[in-house]
Amino acid sequence: MKTVVVAERTRGALRRVSLEIAAKASSFGDTEVIAVKGDRYSPMAWSSAVAEKAKDADLILVGATPSGRDLGARVAAKLGRAYAADCTDLAAKDGALEAKRPMYAGKIRATVKLPSPAVISIRPGAWTLPAGTAAPQVIEIDPAADDPRITFDRFEATASGGKRVSLAEARAIVSGGRGLKGPENWKIVEELADALGAAIGASRAVTDAGWRPNEEQVGQTGKTVTPDLYVALGISGAIQHLAGMTSSKVIVAVNKDPDADIFKIADYGVVGDLFEFVPAFTEAVKKVKGTN
């Protein structure tokens, strides 16, 4: 199966998800890894360039990041290909493809069949990157001419400013909810996240209240995440939130209410005052990490 991997960069470096896909892709057959030059994704210019370069491929793979999914969908439309988004696994069988993917915001796991040629986006972290994998050879392609009707004007940074790892690719996430009582109390969330090397998430209640930026929202209408460790602080566990994080490998929940739904899916639950527990937990994490 002739395969083209469309790699994505962030601040000049290949994204981890692109490395994960490139490492796995050769198992599907002849593989080329391509990347569009430039660091600002532009749907028309990039999809035209990718479609032209990959039009003979049986399989086009992209990372299921917001830009990757956007690009993959437009390329699939341009080439009239079958498309499956946010897949957690993929196998080729008798010239057709079988993919695993979440549906209903993660409440359902589906196995889907689609004909080749196809475009597939792969969820970050779905394919683990074997240690010592060499960086792939990347073929750089030029974007097509941009459509004159649309131009990038400026970047507006949010207050928290993207200093941390992205939620989608984070191996650990600390999320805060209403139980934090106010945006001024996020310092203890940040300190724990720093100790864990984690990204920061939030419940919808908290982003709706304007305590935290929307981009941190985990759950349905926010981000679906699958880190190794998810720490939920003061989050009761609405069904929409649970759908977005229930596939995390290990879940730690801290909540005052012993009947909170979050405890039904937690591996380790702490019933009590998070303002007491979290600073102590941050110290304990530092201690364990220090002796690793």
Binding site: A76, I108, R149, F155, T246, V271, E276, A284, V288
Partner: protein, 257 residues
């Protein structure tokens, strides 16, 4: 200024989804259906423009079975001006759905087409970019804000760490991630008015669309593994001891630390 918002009716997000008898679709008996949440944001985003400029017309359209009328009525009750139902089988391939929506857009000639960034049932996110592709229009994804500025629009795209602001001259397609405000509830007069509105129907043939695109087929569905049986600790003035115990378990038992 005219908006065309593309909608899909899906199981309500509060529904505890179960796999149906055949194992290839979710059980739909007795469940509540709603407009997909991202589509609701798209409607809200368009109606906010109409609030600012009452001459703005907001049209809505859905492609699918007659059940989708309820979602269209919901949009009308929220304040949209007109609604169109394109009759089509529920299993119409997504690219053909997009072709039908693009054909409706060509007839209506809106300045901006809005779609939710993905429907909350299949979570594919294919239809929106495909509508833009079939129209030959630019699109902006992860849209959270649309502000008119002169003869152009400022379209805010959420990215890591902030927003990219794109300037677009209509026509353009926006794939909505969120609206500034929460989607409004239909008002009682709005509901009464929506009940009286006719919802014209179109069929695929009249739009020049046949079911011809490659199809993705669900072979099996199951629920994520049930979690539970976790270790629960009650804090009782011993935060440090419990914190150390949990941290040690993360290290020795689950090996994520």
């Amino acid at each position: 200024m005219r908006f065309l918002v593309c909608l899909k009716q899906v199981p309500d997000s509060t529904v505890k989804v179960k796999v149906g008898a055949g194992g290839k679709a979710v059980a739909t008996e007795g469940i509540t259906w709603s407009m997909s949440p991202y589509d609701e944001y798209a409607v809200e985003l368009a109606l906010e423009r109409k609030d600012a400029d009452p001459t703005t017309v907001v049209s809505v359209v859905t492609v699918g079975s007659a059940r989708g009328r309820d979602a269209l009525r919901q949009a009308l009750a929220m304040g949209c001006d007109d609604a169109t139902l394109v009759n089509a089988p529920e299993d119409l391939p997504a690219l053909d759905v997009a072709k039908a929506l693009a054909a409706v857009a060509k007839e209506m000639k809106p300045d901006i087409v809005l779609c939710g960034k993905q429907a909350s049932d299949d979570d594919q996110g294919l239809v929106g970019p495909a509508v833009a592709e079939f129209l030959g229009w630019p699109h902006v994804g992860m849209l959270t804000k649309a502000v008119s500025s002169g003869d152009a629009w400022e379209l805010w795209r959420e990215v890591e760490g902030g927003h990219e602001v794109w300037k677009a001259k209509p026509p353009v397609v926006g794939l909505v991630h969120k609206s500034d405000k929460e989607p409004r509830y239909p008002s009682l007069p709005g509901i009464m008015k929506a009940k009286k509105k006719e919802i014209p129907e179109k069929d695929l043939a009249s739009l020049g669309v046949t079911a011809s695109s490659p199809k993705i087929e669900v072979a099996a569905m199951d629920l994520p593994p049930q979690r539970g049986g976790g270790k629960i600790f009650k804090l009782d003035g011993d935060a440090k001891a419990v914190a150390e115990q949990v941290a040690n378990l993360l290290h020795t038992e689950s090996k994520v630390l």
